[in-house]
Subunit: 420 residues, 2 copies
């Protein structure tokens, strides 16, 4: 049997996304993803999952052509091949991360699904779970947090979804109760930046009252000024395990961090290796939320974990709307990362049961156990993939544009960040 | 076939060490090492190589008992088992590194040969070279440097060795010529700290005259004060690619680094993960010389490589007297480490042809090609191992004591650091 990649399949898909609100915009009705399959012959398929926006998809397709023939065990060669066709491209991502777009970030974002798929193939070729290729199992299961969102009951032109409305503290507490009952999460994160800070502080207080002992986090996605951030930090002293991205830029975060009683976390100001030195030197962050989708896959995410450990900075994981391939990848990575110091984020509850996998990994007691099977240990549901590709064809969305969607839903809406 | 470790063999050995001089002491006639074999059944043997000093050997033996039954793919479990029996022990190493001894350093030093042997087993179990398990081949071959030493012709009570005397610039140039002719090295490092700085600067100038275009390095092993270091740094401006450990401590190095025109390298002040933050924040070093023997093996050394890359600090590799297992490990690691920014050190030429391997890896054109075979790709020469174990039994040395040896050879000698 050949042990080099013989075929690569890139499939853009769409799946329904509830009207989750964040930093003053809202999720569009469809989330886009791209599924990457690295194949060896007709039997072996390595899986990766990435963003679905058109400019990114175009680069992923270009990369796909370049990796035919690669030995999946030579990830350095995989990287070189992709760098050769993508290197130099500078495509901003469309998911609300800040920091200027660079060629390095673009390349790592394109490389990521191929790296994950390559590792999945490695595991399948040797009959070992992926955590074994990432240094062993530092923990039996990987804890995730309940990721709460303010939301409308449904999209303006659609029915209410199963989660219903959450636009005030009572709605948020009810959402948390339902999510915790269903998945057993043991920590809670509220996506903020939607309402005035006082309103969101009230929601945090309501969560604290209802869930004593649960670590709480608040993430306004840089919706606040430095002064507002410092004020909120003082008012939530003792309530939050961390405050996430209250304000934009490393400099802004550093100014808040000097005054805030709790650590600041980020997936908006330290989001590439080039940001580490300035971010750490300025003590802008106490926790990095890593994300293998833009840090270049699982091994580079491990590199980031080592950097955080040496810098005495905590580590958790960030999440965008994603499906089960990414959840499996995050789980193996988390299982093999000793210094994953906080429960990770996941959008899994917001998928509304939709997935591209035959058997999505269950979240039980707020944690996911990495599967024992080879590689990622998950299998594509090809019928679901075909359906979701049809949805992609039909939905008409080619680039994520939450701000545009918000303007359409709320005439007169304007994006401002910081807003308060 | 079982795929867990069924047996562990720990063999202390000794091999002849030429009278190499350094920071005002000299190598004893025998170098001690310990060979660790992790076995699965009667066929598979994973190899590791570490220090041979009695207190360390005792901990290695304790660790050996604890790892029977481990899955070599679960390095996290391997680490936990060794931490359980070694954790908390604080045994200073005897190889002239500075910085206080800590339990963390002790544990990583004991863990290292097991980690390398575990990775060797992984590679053998899956039929892949070790670089494939370390992220792929970033380079075809790994460059090493010509590592020059001032030396006596022979030990006081013995004959001259094949390398003969080198006690002045002409002797050093002749040694370099012979070593480069034999191995093809393309860069040169002089171990200094033996004579007054002016004498060693003269040797560097002589090397520059004889080998124009060869990067040069000087390593006085912290024999100098801050003031002397700054003076030498200015006098060697334009001559050295880096100046290695001119003076002790992170603070001392930082004071030199502020004035020195070239980067400072270290294997004496940033030698554990806990040193990284203070060392980098104080900008004490421009290059870290990693060493898998005390950084905890190959994957932790990769972690260090990632930390250096993010910190915009260069990376090379340090060497103590070692044999071919360690050379193979360094070669696979170097092949898989994109940011190995300088040729690595090796004592291989000083082994005088002695090794524990059936087919030691050749150094050709100053570089070593990682073998294609599974794992490390090297095989123990059991006759040689037995002979070297007998030498260990006979030689009477149980702990490295270069200072004691120097006192014996040169009555009235006193260890002082810094000396100039």
């Amino acid at each position: 049997m050949s042990e080099t990649v013989t075929d690569v399949v890139v499939t853009p898909i769409a799946f329904p996304d509830p009207p989750l609100l964040k930093a003053s915009d809202g999720h569009q009705p469809w989330a886009l993803r791209t599924i990457v399959e690295l194949r060896i012959g007709s039997e072996l398929v390595g899986l990766g999952e990435t963003y679905g926006d058109a400019p990114h998809l175009e680069l992923v397709r270009r990369a796909a052509e370049a990796v035919i023939g690669v030995d999946p065990f030579d990830l350095a060669d995989l990287y070189r091949r992709i760098a050769a066709v993508v290197g130099g491209s500078n495509v901003p991502d469309l998911h609300g991360l800040t920091g200027g777009s660079t060629a390095e970030k673009t390349l790592l974002r394109v490389y990521s699904p191929f790296e994950v798929a390559g590792l999945d193939l490695q595991g399948q070729l040797i009959g070992r779970p992926l955590w074994a290729l990432l240094g062993g199992r530092a923990r039996e299961s990987v804890p995730f947090s309940a990721y709460l969102f303010y939301k409308w009951a449904g999209h303006p032109d659609g029915d209410a979804d199963e989660w219903g409305e959450a636009l005030d503290p009572a709605g948020i507490v009810a959402q948390a109760r339902r999510m915790i009952d269903r998945y057993g999460f043991k920590s809670i994160k509220l996506k903020g930046g939607v309402f005035e800070p006082d309103e969101e502080i009230a929601a945090i207080r309501a969560l604290r009252a209802e869930f004593p002992g649960y670590p709480l986090r608040l993430d306004p996605n840089a919706a606040w000024t430095v002064d507002t951030s410092i004020k909120v930090a003082h008012e939530t002293d003792g309530l939050l395990e961390y405050l996430e991205d209250p304000t934009p830029t490393i400099e802004g975060m550093a100014a808040v961090a000097r005054e805030a009683p709790m650590p600041l976390a980020t997936n908006m100001c330290v989001i590439s290796f080039a940001d580490v030195k300035p971010g750490f030197e300025q003590r802008a962050v106490g926790v990095v939320l890593s994300d293998h989708h833009y840090w270049g896959g699982l091994r580079p995410s491990q590199r980031l974990a080592g950097i955080c450990q040496a810098g005495e900075v905590g580590l958790s994981m960030h999440s965008n709307s994603h499906l089960g391939i990414s959840l499996a990848a995050m789980t193996h990575l988390g299982a093999a990362t000793p210094n994953l110091t906080y429960a990770a984020d996941t959008h899994t509850p917001w998928q509304l049961g939709v997935d591209v996998l035959e058997h999505p990994l269950p979240i039980v007691d707020g944690a996911v156990i990495p599967p024992d099977g080879p590689g990622l240990g998950v299998t594509l549901d090809r019928d679901a993939l075909a359906r979701m590709h049809e949805d992609y064809q039909r939905c008409g969305i080619r680039e994520r544009d939450d701000v545009g969607y918000m303007k359409q839903c709320r005439p007169g809406y304007e994006m401002r960040r910081p807003r308060w």
